[in-house]
């Protein structure tokens, strides 16, 4: 049976990876789950310099999910290269580095710095809702998204995956813009913008007032957007948003995703990704299928 999938020339041993920002650089979860069983680890966003992030409270639970406004706290690309790449290389998995920046130049500088390093691909976060200047701004205007993608593609020595925001009017237009800019793949969805108010204190729960909404509650929206994006472009799609089990992941594959990422549900059970990978295999067996790729986009066949 074949579980391997190919994302822009990068072969993954199975289609399951971590969603950026929920799995650190793997280190923190390495005693809780077997990283060797993941198709890839997608790291927390890496910027050129260290970012402090937002004031707290940064996270809270909401019905069937959570809100976060971390604000991309990260130690910057140099620490990432020294500390995190050698750690991740000990495992038999692919390394996809999530890249963030305030300006096009910053994204390019991170990518250039990583070009000579032992990593497999870049996921470009053009969709973070929690950073005042930049990030989401690049991801909400198709023209800006196309130009930014093109600028990063020009300097990137590895495949680039453009991560799309769901906070747009037409996800099709954004997917097409990424393709036109030269993206090698797209991933979606990043978080929806949400809010929670503590009625006893009459205050916003998050210091940032708004936060990115993720978890099982967003799955139907994510699935619809993955379907629309996958049908708009020829690029491989990495689908995510609320995946909690193999059945959820299979829905994303059937909608047109070539691979899936698990985010929030790692917090509910650190072994969710292992269970998803095992469950996909069991599903293929049960349905007499030989190859996971037979599922990709099959809902429309």
């Amino acid at each position: 049976m074949n579980l391997k999938v190919n994302i822009a020339g990068v072969e993954l041993k199975n289609p399951v990876m971590s969603a950026s920002g929920t799995f650190g650089s793997g280190h923190e979860y390495s005693e809780l789950t077997d990283i060797n069983r993941l198709g890839a680890v997608v790291t927390k966003g890496v910027a050129f310099e260290p970012w402090e992030g937002n004031p707290t409270p940064r996270v809270t639970e909401v019905y069937g999910g959570m809100l976060n406004a971390i604000g991309l706290q990260n130690p910057g690309v140099d620490v990432f290269i020294e500390r995190d790449i050698p750690f991740l290389r000990k495992f038999d998995t692919r390394i996809i580095v999530n890249v963030c920046g305030h300006t096009v130049e910053e994204y390019c500088k991170v990518v250039e710095r990583l070009n000579g390093q032992d990593v497999d691909a870049y996921e470009i976060n053009l969709s973070c809702p929690n950073v005042k200047q930049g990030a989401l701004a690049f991801g909400q205007d198709p023209k800006v998204l196309e130009e930014t993608t093109a600028a990063i593609k020009k300097v990137a020595a590895k495949p680039i995956i453009i991560k799309l925001s769901p906070n747009v009017t037409s996800i099709r237009d954004m997917a097409l813009a990424a393709e036109a800019g030269g993206a090698d793949a797209i991933s979606l969805i990043n978080t929806l913008i949400g809010m929670k108010i503590d009625i006893e204190r009459r205050r916003f729960v998050l210091a940032n007032k708004t936060g990115g909404f993720s978890g099982p509650a967003i799955k139907p929206v994510a699935l619809r957007m993955v379907y629309e994006a996958a049908h708009a472009v020829k690029l491989p799609v990495i689908g995510m948003g609320g995946i909690a089990c193999a059945e959820d992941a299979i829905e994303f594959l059937l909608a047109g995703a070539s691979a899936v990422a698990v985010g929030t549900m790692n917090f509910a059970d650190p072994r969710t990704m292992e269970h998803v990978a095992e469950g996909i295999e069991a599903y293929l067996k049960r349905h007499g299928l030989e190859d996971v790729r037979e599922l990709i986009g099959a809902a429309d066949a």
Binding site: T22, Y29, P50, T56, V59, Q73, N74, T264, M265, R271
Partner: protein, 259 residues
Amino acid sequence: MKRKENARVCGINELAPGIFSLWLESSMAAEAKPGCFVGVYPKNGAHVLMRPISICDVNAQKTQLRLVFRAAGEGTKEISGLRVGEEVALLGVLGNGYDTQAMQGKKLLLLGGGIGIPPMLLLAKELSDAGISCNAVLGYADRNDFLRDEFDNVCRTYVATMDGSLGTKGTVIDALNENMLMADICCACGPMPMLKAVKGFAADCGMKAYLSLEERMACGVGACLGCVTKTAHPDPHTHVNNTRICVEGPVFDASEVLL
């Protein structure tokens, strides 16, 4: 090693209105240090995040651990409804905990405010077992106290209540002043205004202070960067003076954190 594992309920009772004591049979008891906590998962799938609760006590065989918590919102209310024999999923053991070895030969003062009282019990027991002398000051809102007799069994215990119905009227700091309590080291857990006051008090009298901090958490293991607090020096993870309470804490040297 950190793990997610089911634990079996072996006892649950209400100590004071809305305050529950839960004994769980869990292999994690063997690794529990005072100040450490576990994540308790509500069963209702609408709750995706664990509830961080401090380890309040461990039995002599180290096969059971005890959590004492307030039924605050939906998650902890569900947990307070657990029955003997039922299973509940735990993530643990989380956090750094207190280093009682380093306290040998010192005089200790333990300060607990409200739902910050429970973690101080395991600390008091370990100190007393190690022959380290300590006093405890417990602050409650009113006469609905809890765990007080258990502290009395292991150390000299003072009480403060906001409404004056028991002990000193006022805060734990008022009780410290009234009883002229001094020590080499004080350890405190409670609401933020209390921790700020303890930090100031300790600095004024040149006492070393350790504070147990609280913040909203998602992962509990250092991966999401949700639970940070501002620090005086660069933090070990990101080097931006924002350190993770779930890993580098929850216990911090008061002079290291900017509250």
